[in-house]
Symmetry: C2
Subunit: 400 residues, 2 copies
């Protein structure tokens, strides 16, 4: 119970922007004053919290306020998308100290590619000059499926050759740090919780648009991971009965109608984008160009994006109707080019498709996480593991 109580205390302090006194902590956590005092002593000794001034409240001695020490802990995040791999280093209060990204090397041997990611992490840590002893771990967000128990990625559809790649073991070996592996969609949902944008909302779905499309789930204030860590596979929700055939044998799954590469192919066919050049096509650039064309009023571009928004709204409403959530958050690496057209279309459609509009409406928003900072969510996996009293199932690699 000691670790659990410490997590409760840390979490309370983290959530209180103004800091908290020991007396307030005891009241909010329902713990004995002596217990709180002992835990705070330990946290002060290890530098995770700091005393930040005194505050008078009524008569009596002013109370010493406790806050998180930004420099008390750090976390590294690696976000792997088939198109782009990004990295971030966060301090204990979630400030991004350093971030970078580079194209994902899908041609190389996966084991070597992951080893190079580990080397990049070491490089980032060295560059940053932070105290390595204070780095709590490396969080990795990867396309699924994953084998959560072993920290392995298992045949993600857009990463040929990544049959069973033990991300956790390789990265632990190279970095010497504890490593947490989770699906990209789940890391995105954790980031939204961590960024505080959902503090008023106990239930939401995160619709994640990367090279693939998936969903992260937060129900009753807890991140849902599923029986094997593979929550959120929504690619085979049928969104367009007139759509093309899918590899599952059905027609019109969002996998074949809404993914960025499909939209880009439609844009090429409609003459919005030029034919693919002989050198490798760049999905991020193509999506940016398509969005730009729509923003400039190109009717074909607008039509492609609006149609896609209709299909995504249909798919998202399957989630909202099934899970009775209050909010849908859209995000992921390819969300920014979609945001203008999609936010103009989707909210009304989700309202239309909602079975429970007579009881409550569903709020639709874009992610709080900045474009290009997907690795923030990966690093938040480490934060969640350290701070959240709910994260009992998500254990850091015990070898770390």
């Amino acid at each position: 119970m000691g670790d659990y109580n410490q997590s409760v205390i840390l979490d309370s302090i983290r959530r209180a922007e103004e800091g908290l006194s020991r007396v307030e902590l005891a009241a909010s956590a329902g713990l004995a004053a002596q217990t709180v005092s002992n835990i705070c002593r330990r946290l002060l000794d290890t530098g995770l919290i700091i005393e930040a001034g005194k505050e008078a409240s009524g008569p009596g001695k002013p109370r010493t306020m406790l806050r998180l020490n930004p420099k008390g802990m750090y976390a590294v995040g690696i976000h792997i998308d088939p198109a782009l791999t990004s990295y971030a280093l966060l301090d204990a209060v979630g400030t991004v100290l350093l971030s970078l990204d580079e194209p994902t090397d899908l041609a190389g041997d996966p084991f070597e590619v992951v080893a190079a990611m580990g080397a990049k992490v070491r490089h980032i840590i060295d560059e940053s000059g932070v105290d390595e002893q204070r780095i709590a771990g490396v969080g990795v967000a990867t396309p699924g499926p994953v084998d959560a128990a072993s920290g392995t990625v298992v045949n993600p559809p857009h990463m040929p050759g990544w049959a069973r790649v033990p991300l956790r073991d390789i990265l632990h070996e190279i970095t010497g740090l504890p490593v947490i592996v989770d699906k990209d969609v789940t890391a995105a949902a954790v980031a939204e919780v961590w960024a505080g944008s959902t503090s008023s909302v106990r239930d939401f779905v995160f619709v994640y648009i990367g090279t693939g499309i998936g969903a992260g789930l937060v129900l009753n204030d807890e991140v849902v991971r599923g029986s094997s860590g593979n929550v959120g596979e929504i690619g085979h929700i049928i969104a367009d009965p007139d759509g093309p055939e899918c590899d599952c044998g059905r027609r019109g799954c969002i996998k074949v109608t809404c993914m960025p590469e499909t939209l880009v192919a439609q844009a090429r066919a409609a003459g919005v984008l030029p034919e693919a050049s002989p050198d490798e096509a760049s999905l991020p650039q193509d999506m940016a160009d398509l969005a730009q064309a729509a923003a400039e009023g190109n009717p074909a571009a607008l039509d492609i994006l609006t149609q896609s928004a209709h299909r995504l709204a249909g798919a998202a409403s399957v989630l909202t109707n099934l899970l009775d959530v209050e909010r849908v958050v859209f995000g992921g690496p390819f969300w920014p080019p979609l945001a203008p057209t999609h936010l103009a279309t989707i909210p009304a459609l989700i309202e239309h498709y909602s079975v429970t509009t007579s009881v409550h409406s569903v709020n639709v928003v874009g992610t709080m996480v900045s474009s290009g900072e997907e690795a923030f969510g990966a690093a938040c996996l480490v934060m969640e593991n350290t701070f959240s009293p709910n994260a009992a199932r998500l254990l850091l690699d015990s070898k770390g």
Copy 2:
């Protein structure tokens, strides 16, 4: 915390078929011996548990075993389906002491129909001869949507005129008992947990086939209810791109392709069932006749049911892929006639559609709850509220 600890103790005793000693209880619940002793004293005094013999375990004094007292508590369940309303009276160990059903009166004024349900409950209690002081409450399973906070049913699609019917208040007034209202699909999931069929499974979906089709969810060992108690609206999952138009404006939703009334209409069109008689059609009888025809090898009947199984498998796989569950349980009032054809078809299809087959397979089973005993699940809502330490959100009507 006293009530919470008491729930933990009651739950532990309930789960142990052979009973538990105080020493075992203290160990399993992680509570001090004195706390356990005090709570057990209180539970013995109120008659919720009984001392059931002594058991020697090694040297020392034999330990007194504690068990639930079957006569210590009772619960009443009302299960409302647009076709049939059923009732059940359960004792504390879940034995159905009394059950009955009758056609749901959809022609009458909803307020009067619900009042008549209340009178029926009173009648059942009188008939049964159980000590009324020991009836913990009435659980009501109703088609959604519901307004969980007020115990009101709000415009269920197959019950015209039931605009906002305050089930809880009416039934509380007539019966004088605490009343819990929940969606039929959720009550069905609770029943499956209670019947013990899912004890090895932490995550499952319950696909409920009544007059409408819905889903109950148990994730990470907890019943999920959603932000307004309306979890499980799956009627607008598109299952057949070639299907008929739905009221939502799309085509082939399971609402218009898999519901019993659709299957019966198909059976009439194919000559499997006679044209509807001028007197009111009976969905339960029609479904039984269709299943009988299929069992006798009628190819058109077989085709109708197999097609429906294919569509339901597609819809169920949307849930299993999204939620990463280990098991799908099929049930509900119209499940029995579908079971033979559906269990022959659905498991392989769900395996085919599953995105995570490389990680784990999905188990597909029929419900443990007997045909005609849907009200068992409704009564289990009361049991869950009394016994489950997780059910903090589901409070009995405080007026009760």
